[in-house]
């Protein structure tokens, strides 16, 4: 069975500071990993995905994530956040069309 754990329910950070949102997964098979962002009153938008190959994945809006197989992690990072990055972020593990989502991390960027 697959599962996803997002360790932080909320992360406050000041504008222009770096941020890391943590995600750990468990799976007995090869995984595909995703980060989605949900802005208030909107649907989910894909930030980035890891399917195979390079473990460092770059996404939209300056975000990147690193797949670490030994630590079963896929943490999301951004070197300098902006007010507009305030949103809910979901980590997901997928395979064979079925996706399991984490409980989400609310990123709040402070001025």
């Amino acid at each position: 069975a697959q599962s996803v754990t997002q360790l932080d329910s909320q992360v406050p950070v000041f504008e222009e500071a770096p941020v890391e949102l943590r995600c750990n997964y468990s799976s007995s098979v090869s995984v595909y990993l995703f980060w989605y962002v949900q802005y208030p009153n909107q649907g989910l938008q894909l930030l980035l995905k890891y399917l195979s190959g390079s473990t460092l994945v770059k996404g939209i809006n300056g975000f990147e994530a690193e797949f670490n197989k030994s630590q079963t992690s896929f943490h999301l990072r951004k070197p300098s956040v902006h007010i507009s990055d305030t949103a809910e972020y979901f980590c997901a593990v997928g395979g064979t069309y079925k996706y399991i989502f984490g409980t989400g991390t609310r990123l709040k960027v402070l001025a």
Binding site: F90, Y99, T103
Partner: protein, 116 residues
């Protein structure tokens, strides 16, 4: 990518009634998915809908409560039947990016349902 629209965007319904949510995609897709996002929680898959076959429901979800239609490759509906306040959630439809494994899903904007 795919552009997905949902109707209605939000609704307030009385307990015991039913609501049908529509999902329209701008391209033909094989698989469509319906998720529920309860307040303050993550997304839970309700069912997978393929055109021309019965929907496949996840554990804890049944067809009598959440009947799904998939009449063609660009459209699907989800009905929330005999609603109770516990059904208050955001309901999202999504589609698979391509026919291959492991590709991202594209999500609609969601339908925010409040049951009183």
């Amino acid at each position: 990518s795919a552009v997905i629209s949902q109707k209605p965007s939000r609704d307030i319904c009385q307990r015991g009634t039913s609501l049908t949510i529509q999902c329209q995609v701008d391209s033909q897709v094989t698989m469509m998915f319906w998720y529920r996002q309860q307040p303050g929680q993550s997304l839970t898959l309700i069912a997978t809908a393929n055109q021309g076959s019965e929907a496949t429901y996840e554990s804890g979800f049944v067809i009598d409560k959440f009947p799904i239609s998939r009449p063609n490759l660009t459209f699907s509906t989800l009905t929330v039947s005999n609603m109770s306040p516990e059904d208050s959630s955001i309901y999202l439809c999504s589609v698979d990016g391509t026919s291959g494994r492991g590709n991202e899903q594209y999500f609609g904007p969601g339908t925010r349902l409040t049951v009183t």
